[in-house]
Symmetry: C2
Subunit: 401 residues, 2 copies
């Protein structure tokens, strides 16, 4: 596997563009377009929130065919809680794109992110989409990535390639998200593409699996959104033999997909609103995977644990308390906790102030790991998260104004 530049447009036959359409205040880019030169197989994973934004309702329908050519995405307006009108707007946004590209509307997928409950400014989209289509180019991945940002402070792209079935196969992607991130993909969008020839069922299964181990492992603040989605286009232009389930080639392809999703997910976690610390949190020795994940997510979303991380304080009592309420089966007297390489808890009890002082020193770094060993089994789970810093509140108190 090789890391390559270009993000989603590193993939053969993928064009992209981004522009400022005036949906956001000011001059920020807010409209992105991704297009495959040839018909692509499409897979998708969507929010589990019971309130689902109209663009996702449309995409879910279109995904039944499992085919497509283009993805149009705006930021600045989520087109959520907008009722029938919002659905019509999503359909119109796809139709405008189809018309500008000369392809059938059913081949266009739609994404939106931003403020909930405002109608999309359709006249702005009408004016912008033809201009955007004219800007499509083979290295537009970063422009597209920039145009889907909301409170993000960094552009998020990733791409890797490998030789599969005798051909160079690439998987690339862009993502947006920072804060409002949850195990179930809160307010995050990720668009991937690959030139591999992949059977549709394998692509869907593979994308779900990659999502589960990446975007669903970045609990930042416990909130999920109405608009989260991950879509992947596979246009087959690498010319590889179609992948067979269970084959070594299929596993190599899955590794590419996993890598791009995890890379983008970590970039989202790192960009947690106002975050000053990036924490890899591993829970091991759990009785089941579900227990391990439950414990990890409860710790990673605890406001008390996260503020202690901000304070560079190895306050393991808060981790114990979070574990205790997580619902995971634990035996207090078997628990060990490490901060980086420094053990601070053994058999459920603290190892004293020297150990804690060393752990506090580890926590001075911008990135560190925390390992919680439950001593109750063999299952484990890793999540990536951040501290909770005062800027989180500043950003979220004023986001709409």
């Amino acid at each position: 596997m090789k890391v390559v530049t270009g993000g989603i447009t590193a993939v053969t036959g993928i064009l992209a563009a981004g522009m400022a359409a005036g949906i956001k205040k000011g001059d920020s880019p807010d409209l992105a377009l991704i297009v495959s030169e040839r018909d692509a197989t499409v897979a998708g994973v969507f929010t589990t929130n019971a309130v689902v934004a109209p663009p996702l309702l449309l995409d879910r329908q279109r995904l039944r065919r499992g085919k497509g050519r283009a993805i149009i995405v705006n930021s600045g307006n989520a087109n959520a809680c907008t009722g029938r009108g919002g659905y019509k707007d999503a359909v119109a946004m796809a139709a405008l794109t189809a018309s500008a590209l000369g392809i059938p509307p059913k081949d266009v997928y739609v994404g939106s992110t931003g403020v909930i409950g405002k109608p999309l400014p359709m006249e702005k989209l009408e004016a912008a989409i033809p201009l955007l289509a004219a800007r499509l180019h083979h290295d537009g991945g970063e422009d597209a990535a920039r145009a889907i940002m909301t409170t993000d402070t960094t552009v998020k792209t990733a791409a890797v390639s490998d030789t599969i079935g005798g051909r160079t196969v690439t998987v690339g992607g862009i993502a947006k998200g920072s804060g409002m991130i949850h195990p179930n993909m809160a307010t995050m969008l990720a668009y991937l593409a690959t030139d591999a020839q992949v059977p549709r069922a394998m692509l869907q299964r593979g994308l779900r699996q990659a999502t589960e181990q990446s975007f669903n492992r970045i609990p930042v603040d416990g909130d999920t959104s109405t608009n989260d989605m991950v879509l992947c286009l596979a246009n087959g232009m690498a010319g590889n033999r179609p992948l067979k389930p269970g084959s070594a080639d299929a596993r190599r392809f899955q590794s590419l997909l996993d890598h791009v999703c995890l890379d983008l997910a970590k970039k989202i976690a790192w960009d947690g609103e106002g975050a000053t610390k990036f924490v890899e949190l591993r829970v091991k020795g759990a009785r089941t995977q579900a227990d391990a994940l439950r414990a990890a997510v409860t710790i990673a979303t605890s406001s008390l644990v996260k503020t202690a991380w901000f304070g560079e304080d190895a306050n393991w009592g808060r981790i114990m308390a979070a574990l205790g309420r997580s619902g995971a089966r634990i035996a207090e007297g078997r628990i060990a906790i490490m901060v980086g390489p420094v053990q601070i808890v053994r058999r459920g009890m603290g190892l004293g102030s020297d150990a804690e002082a060393q752990a506090n020193a580890v926590m001075k770094a911008r990135e560190f790991s925390v390992t919680v060993a439950l001593g109750s089994g063999d299952a484990e789970a890793t999540v990536w998260t951040t501290d909770l810093a005062p800027d989180y509140i500043k950003i979220n108190a004023s986001y709409r104004s």
Copy 2:
């Protein structure tokens, strides 16, 4: 029912005291004692956290007899995650108290709150407890309330009385808690007393019911602690006829218990760490009570909703998103949301910027209500919570240092 002064010592035959024993840094009071002049029936409700602090393990055992005379409580040290040594210390703390009061150790209950994972400074307790016993007096309720505070900014006491069975019956209490509060009573202590003569089973059932509707309805930050407890002593000194289950007198007594618990709970919620807004959040029209509570707690613990409250921004989209992930059964198109008297959402859609501006004006007050009507049934639940303000992080990042 009549509100009376004096807190827990408004109750006939209840003495209390508080002092600085040197467990906390500085000169803050950190040791409280509550004593009944006569043998009392005792009821208790404890944390549901799987990590349970030693004092609670001891109290649970003593509660099997359902009798007692005294409660000794320290702040500044939770005596949690302290293993066998911590349990021995809790037993010794009770024994020291029993010896100072000349009563059997089995009649003494123990509470602790503060930092997790440090051994109790037993030599300080040995020196202090006899002095504390000597300070017991009939209006020591507030001193005791002050001595159990940790990050609290206000002293929390409550008392009410009523004529029951021909006698004046009083219920009084003290509590501590601020932040780290959860539906399941995180890092909160409440000690109640009554002079009513109450059968033990009724007292236990009544205390659980009152707790359910009060301390379990103040979700502030989603964290629960290892040390939460609510205890109630009933010494029968009012001389009323023993209450009969289902009688009008029993209901009047329950109202007193409910009132004191709710009053203390609201004071805890109001004292949420760094909070600037106090919000009464009511979810109605749910299919079941469990759905109503689930929805209310999810909204009330959403960092995004709470930061919007801090920002005085009627950002109802965040409430919709929280509802959607709550697990409660909802129909998006039936949801209505009000801020105070101002409706901002009807049938799942926003009512526009005029309505929002009016709602924002309501949110300028320090207290306001938010009502979410699901339109799916008849069940409802009310919780009391606060905004999430930058001081929350400041307080919790530095709590140990």
